[in-house]
């Protein structure tokens, strides 16, 4: 199951908001968490 969410932006700016896919196997912590940290990283 894939989940997508909109990245939050400041209230007075409204650019097109790209979606981030959350794949449960690549996520740690509860879905209900108040804070989501998305990490884009490279293994090498």
């Amino acid at each position: 199951m894939l989940v997508t969410f909109m990245l939050a932006v400041t209230a007075d700016v409204a650019p097109a908001q790209p979606r981030v896919t959350i794949e449960p196997t690549m996520a740690k912590g509860p879905e209900s968490a108040a804070v989501t940290i998305v990490e884009f990283s490279d293994f090498q």
């Binding site: 196997t25 989501t36 884009f40």
Partner: protein, 133 residues
Amino acid sequence: MLKEYDGRVRLVFRDFPLPYHDLAMAAHEAARCAGAQNRYWAYHDRLFERQPSFQRDELIGYAIDLGLDRERFTRCVDDHQQRPAVQASLAEGRALGVASTPTFFVNGSPLIGAQPIEAFRDAINEALQRSTR
């Protein structure tokens, strides 16, 4: 950090293999192949421990060490079954303006580069304050 914030923080890993790292794509694909056997994070951690040793046989060796089904894992790696997913993640990162790694978004606010732990605490605390307003 996840323990420190006890249920209030979720970490989401996204692939962003840099094009000048020859073996990065293979490593990201392999991690997802491990994920298909429910061992994503163990394999993820192994890759960071062993970087940059990401030749095919090394990637398969890590999978065997972690008790994954060798045949299934090897087929996944050799057939590049996870490449489209890695490429989709890369495209998402680019769409967000990611140009280097690591790049973090804390409830949407960017935090670029390897930052001290205090920078994460500050960003998380600010996000928590906003979430309760």
